[in-house]
Symmetry: C2
Subunit: 207 residues, 2 copies
DNA sequence: TTCATTCTTGATCAAATGGTCAAGACGCGT
DNA sequence: ACGCGTCTTGACCATTTGATCAAGAATGAA
């Protein structure tokens, strides 16, 4: 026994591969059917593993869900972290909105996963909301506030403006069924991006 | 047998009362836990009836859900129907946004019910989306377009603007847990309404 | 090759849950 | 008070589903 007595995180090749497979499949399934609406069997079938095998890697259904949620959280909030007070406000906010929309188009599952979680009370990410997310939002609201103080954009409630950006951009992922039904099928992402940026930012531009 | 051979809809007093009880309880439960996450027992307990009794009025879980959904649909879309091309655009849109926000604050369950339904594919209201809702949205988009043509508001994509109003206003119901966590608890509905109206409408005003 | 460790799964269990049914309680017009 | 139709429910059933386990298969370091 050459190794140290406790081996906390020595992951096997097979472990990485299979956990990755499971998390990918679980994101699909959970985002489509919600936590209660999803079954371990669905996830197992989707990633080609047997149900007991899946429970070998994650002992409970809840553990899979928590892992997927955590795995997606960082990625989803990343673009907001990049909001930089040093750059031009309109350019910076345009970029943020466009990146969020691109994410909604490219990975609607991630958005739907969060929508489900929040809709059902956010019990799994309560700590995260009250801690890191709250801090991040306060920091970025301060950035917007600074732009206002500097006279670079017109006055607006920074926090509610962030909410508005989230609401509108994630709407195209969470409500994609409705959007696709009500929109002409010819509508291209670029058109949508232009329309959304105009709606959200035109009111901020100084004359 | 004095009555006509077939009696299609002669509702008893008890029937009306209990169906009403059930629909109220079902709205609460379904909007909180989603369709799959809700059990007939939960609804039965919440309205003080036994499970078999509940299934006497609605033979299947799906029937309860469909009834609640239909019962709420009309009410939820009503304010959009009132959008009148003859009135002042900013006043009309301000009223619409404020009514939608009031509904989100007063009856978040209705909003959450729809959010859940759309999020999970909208299979129960597919017909409604493609039919009446699509017609309504097209009609009201035309109203906004007319305002633009008349030079009363600045140019904007009408359909995406309607989406933006829906997204932002319903966000305060669907994501209420998140909103309440990130907002100062002192924030009043009137403050929120003013902020949202400003964010959505300032860009439309002609200079 | 050896063999301890890791990985895989068929069989199985207990609980939850949608739904049924027959028997009885109740409401209400006469 | 009577009697028919409405309403109510305890007991029960079949299926789904999260989770367990023991036994066997694959892996990989020496």
């Amino acid at each position: 026994m050459q190794k140290t007595k406790a081996k906390p995180a020595a992951k096997t090749r097979i472990q990485s591969e299979n956990q990755d497979l499971i998390l990918k499949a679980a994101l699909d399934v959970f985002s489509t059917y919600g936590f209660r609406g999803s079954t371990i069997d669905q996830i197992a079938i989707k990633c080609g593993l047997s149900k007991p095998n899946l429970l070998y890697y994650f002992r409970r259904k809840d553990d899979i869900y928590a892992a997927v949620l955590e795995h997606t959280l960082t990625q989803w909030l990343a673009p907001l972290r990049m909001l930089d007070v040093g750059n031009d406000p309109i350019a910076e906010l345009t970029r943020y909105i466009e990146v969020k929309l691109d994410m909604s188009f490219a990975n609607p599952a991630a958005s739907k996963l969060f929508a489900n979680e929040i809709l059902h009370g956010a019990s799994h990410i309560e700590k995260y909301l009250k801690g890191p997310l709250k801090e991040l939002v306060e920091a970025k609201a301060a950035v917007i506030q600074q732009w206002i103080v500097d006279g670079k954009i017109r006055a607006v409630d920074p926090t509610h403006f962030i909410f508005a950006i989230w609401a509108v951009t994630q709407h195209y992922a969470d409500f994609s069924v409705q959007v696709e039904t009500l929109l002409k099928p010819s509508e291209k992402p670029a058109t949508i991006k232009a329309a959304v940026v105009e709606i959200l930012l035109r009111g901020l531009k100084v004359t």
